[in-house]
């Protein structure tokens, strides 16, 4: 048990943000003990909820001066433990910083605070016929600040790219409490290095973004959503390659395996997937209405050539919404099947998908584990999800070993250990699979530029054998 935060520090925090926004009560702190990766849990000393850039700067400066670790937190939906608290640290949450500051429809940019929920931005932009493109599955709760930290993706990143493509400027509170502004729309001619791009995806290790400027896109005129039904994952994988090789650029190509289909269809998120299908592809085209049917026809032909038993089209908005809801809530639906779910995340070259999927199935069978696949097939971004019960130590051990094998497999075929969920605490141990010591040391040096004292989101991203994170199971 850590020494509680000194009263004078609590008072100083109260003075900055108001006592209602400093959480020290142990019962309330439990809410913050983990993010979406619940296998790691740590109770922080306190949680502070500032409302402005100035308040964040004052809080961070105070804690920095006291030598207290700071862990930034958005909505806590992250899946790699990036927002896992430090036992001797304070969590700085952005929940109150939820204002959209400006929507400049003429220039198609928005300025907002980091606590704005991803989907709320699109709702606010709708009257201008604009929207925000990156759409992580958690978009109804995750925040833009978290998206910036994780460089979040989503199904439609196949066509539209990830968060980094849309962030044009940032106001950042550095770990020292200093406030800096990076980038800014209309200012590219200054010849600055792309520091916005460096900050996006830094997983809360370089500072807290307190104001974010993003690009918006025009709402597309039309959309076509296809559901391809296959007997095997391998056949579905071949269809993906065929669609891409055909020169089509779908907005999204998602794959769902039988285990996931059964979980989703048995849940409140049922989307109309046939439960006896070996695999299903959700393929979507968007853009100008004219021409979409032709694209959809070509994609359908690719599916049939790859052995699809059936290709359906969502002809009504409600059907499309049901399919997407089923896809995006699949992780939630799996909660019915097993007490615990490890949502994995890795990317492989798209052409290796059929082979990798077959080998993941083999790994699951060998370790006697239930593996459910639901992922962004068009990007080669896999999410093999392992269902388990953490109270079974033998099964937990098999989960860890299978996970590592899957990661090694993805790297072996030319892929990487995380496509969109980040490294956080979860994948620090895998970093050496994809990076050499020279690259890791360069990343450490870059981290020191922003955080020389190493107290900002400590123990994340970079491997640090001196203080390995402790999974809850290990301490239980």
């Amino acid at each position: 048990m850590n020494t509680p935060l000194e009263t004078r520090i609590v008072r100083a925090l109260n003075a900055i943000v108001g006592p209602d926004h400093v959480v020290t009560d142990p019962e309330r702190l439990v809410v913050y003990e983990s993010d979406g990766l619940t296998s790691y849990r740590v109770i922080p000393l306190a949680v502070v909820l500032p409302a402005t850039t100035e308040e964040v700067a004052a809080v961070v400066k105070l804690l920095h001066g006291e030598g207290i670790p700071v862990v930034p937190r958005g909505a806590g939906t992250g899946l790699s433990g990036g927002a896992l608290p430090s036992a001797d640290g304070v969590v700085v949450g952005t929940a109150r910083m939820n204002r959209i500051l400006e929507i400049d429809s003429d220039n198609r940019i928005a300025r907002l605070q980091p606590g704005v929920v991803n989907a709320h931005l699109t709702v606010a932009a709708k009257p201008y016929s604009l929207y925000y493109a990156p759409d992580p599955s958690s978009q109804s709760t995750c925040t833009l600040g978290g998206n910036v930290a994780e460089n979040s993706g989503g199904p439609h990143c196949l066509k539209y790219g990830v968060t980094q493509r849309y962030v044009t400027g940032l106001t950042v509170v550095l770990p020292s409490g200093e406030v800096i502004r990076l980038g800014g729309a209309g200012r590219s001619a200054r010849g600055a290095l792309d520091l916005v791009g460096l900050f996006v995806g830094s997983e809360g290790c370089f500072g807290i973004a307190t104001e974010i400027e993003v690009k918006l896109l025009p709402v597309t005129e039309g959309v076509r959503t296809l559901l391809g039904i296959f007997e095997t994952m391998e056949a579905a994988g071949h269809a993906v390659t065929a669609i891409i090789s055909e020169g089509l650029l779908p907005a999204a190509v998602e794959i769902v395996d039988n285990a996931t289909i059964r979980a989703v269809e048995a849940s409140v998120y049922a989307g109309g997937f046939p439960v006896d299908a070996g695999a299903a592809l959700v393929i979507e085209f968007d853009g100008t209405e004219a021409g979409l049917d032709a694209d959809a026809d070509r994609a359908e032909a690719c599916c049939r050539q790859a052995g699809a038993s059936e290709v359906k089209r969502a002809t009504e908005a409600t059907q499309r919404a049901a399919l997407w809801n089923g896809r995006k809530k699949a992780f939630g639906a799996m909660g019915r099947i097993a007490p615990d779910l490890l949502v994995q995340d890795a990317t492989v070259p798209r052409t290796r998908l059929p082979e990798v999927l077959a080998r993941i199935t083999e790994i699951g069978e060998r370790y006697e584990l239930k593996v459910a696949n639901v992922f962004h097939a068009g990007d080669g971004n896999l999410h093999p999800n392992i269902l388990f019960d953490r109270n079974d130590p033998d099964e937990l051990d098999r989960v860890e070993r299978a996970s590592k094998e899957i990661m090694c497999l993805c790297v072996e075929v030319g892929g990487t250990i995380t496509g969109e969920h980040g490294v956080g605490v979860d994948k620090r141990g895998y970093m050496q699979l994809v990076l050499g010591e020279v690259e890791i040391e360069a990343m450490r040096a870059v981290k020191r530029i922003f955080d020389p004292s190493g107290l900002f989101n400590p123990g994340k991203v970079l491997p640090d054998p001196a203080s390995p994170p402790v999974p809850a199971e290990a301490s239980a």
Partner: protein
């Protein structure tokens, strides 16, 4: 020539040669040597040697877009043209990895066989090298529809100032394993290191690439049309304003990519919104406009929010007179070609553009450094972080010829 002699100790003699003609000769002016490595190992040797001997390094693709060495002191030109060739290209992955000195024309030809392309169209794109493209970070106006170059560089191998070799990113389209050191590398113009290999995402060639043209002397009319196009519900591939000097008028070029049905519909939408009828133009005009306003003694580049572009160009015309202008109306950037310029005029325009929230840069190889220095600067905070980043990549400052 003592430098060249001692360089011969670490590099095979055939890796050394004099500067041969054209752009390379221009940037090699004043250099102690031009080194043309044939392998990444020779790049490492050359950079290590330079670092140990207090010689600066100016990496060069073709030299066509390289700013000559800034500052004083002995330096070598590291010409990357012999480090050329595709490394990995799996068409169905729609990604490719090639050595940095590979001409983009070669890559374009290979991709075209599989109906793929790189959606980047900066000036003289086909005569650039892959490494040169990444060093300048220039995407060109089709970034409107496809996103910027920095979003499509999936991986790179870079030789740092002390000879360390960093393998950054990978060859998959989504990758968040560790901090993204690739992003500041793209567009760093040699300030951080020498890129020896690059992995890029490619795209399928659109079925139709239609070029719409609106010629006019009426600037206000063109502004209204440009606004109608850039705020339309359909996203064009690019929207470019082309202003000719003196009496030759101006034009708006809009490219539409997609299936024939799609571009027909998009054209109708844009014409309805803008209240105009576009003529058709061909890809030759696109290339002419793309390359215009680059080969001039002075090129002023400015950036503003797109809504302020025409206002900024009006201010530029008032101060600089009539000149060739090529502007990306979707992003709000423009380049202006000039025969000459004086520092006070640049400063006055810079102040005006900065008041609009924009920025301005000047390339004027034949003018003194004060002209270039009159352009906009990153903030002190950004400069501080950038300097520290340079120290991480290049601790001994061997790439000083690339820095302001």
């Amino acid at each position: 020539m003592s430098v060249v002699t001692s360089l011969g100790d670490v590099l095979p003699a055939e890796a050394l040669s004099g500067a041969e003609g054209g752009a390379l000769a221009r940037v090699a002016r004043g250099a102690e040597a031009v080194v043309r490595p044939r392998s990444p190992e020779e790049v490492v040797d050359a950079v290590r040697w330079a670092s140990a001997n207090g010689v600066g390094v100016l990496p060069v693709g073709t030299g066509g877009r390289t700013t000559p060495a800034r500052g004083d002191g002995p330096f070598m030109v590291l010409a990357m043209d012999r480090l050329s060739g595709l490394e990995i290209y799996e068409p169905a992955d729609v990604t490719l990895t090639a050595k940095a000195g590979t001409p983009l024309a070669d890559i374009e030809a290979t991709l075209a066989e599989h109906r793929q392309w790189l959606p980047f169209d900066p000036p003289q794109v086909s005569s650039r090298t892959l490494g040169g493209l990444v060093a300048t970070g220039e995407s060109g106006p089709v970034a409107t529809a496809y996103g910027e170059l920095r979003n499509h560089v999936l991986g790179a191998t870079v030789v740092c100032g002390d000879g360390r070799v960093l393998r950054l990113g990978g060859r998959v389209v989504k990758n968040v394993a560790g901090f993204d050191l690739l992003r500041p590398l793209v567009g760093s113009r040699g300030r951080l290191g020498v890129v020896t290999s690059v992995c890029l995402r490619a795209f399928p060639v659109p079925a139709k690439d239609r070029v719409l043209l609106l010629r006019s002397d009426d600037f206000a009319g063109l502004e209204a049309a440009a606004r109608a196009v850039r705020t339309a519900p359909t996203l064009p591939a690019s929207v470019v304003l082309w202003v000719r000097p003196t009496s030759q008028g101006a034009a708006l070029l809009v490219r539409l990519h997609g299936a024939e049905l799609t571009v027909d519909a998009d054209q109708a939408t844009l014409e309805r919104r803008a209240g105009v009828s576009f003529a058709r133009a061909d890809s030759e005009l696109v290339a002419e406009v793309r390359d215009d306003a680059t080969d001039a003694p002075v090129v002023v580049t400015l950036s503003v929010l797109p809504s302020r572009l025409f206002e900024a160009l009006g201010a530029a015309r008032d101060l600089l007179g009539h000149s060739s202008v090529v502007a990306d109306a979707y992003s709000g950037t423009a380049r202006i070609a000039l025969a000459e310029v004086d520092t006070d005029t640049v400063r006055a325009l810079r102040d005006t553009i900065e008041e609009m929230g924009g920025a301005l840069a000047v390339e004027a190889p034949d003018e003194g450094p004060e002209v270039r220095a009159a352009g906009s600067r990153p903030s002190d905070a950004e400069t501080g972080v950038s300097t520290r980043l340079q120290e991480v990549f290049d601790p001994s400052g061997v790439f000083w010829p690339c820095r302001a």
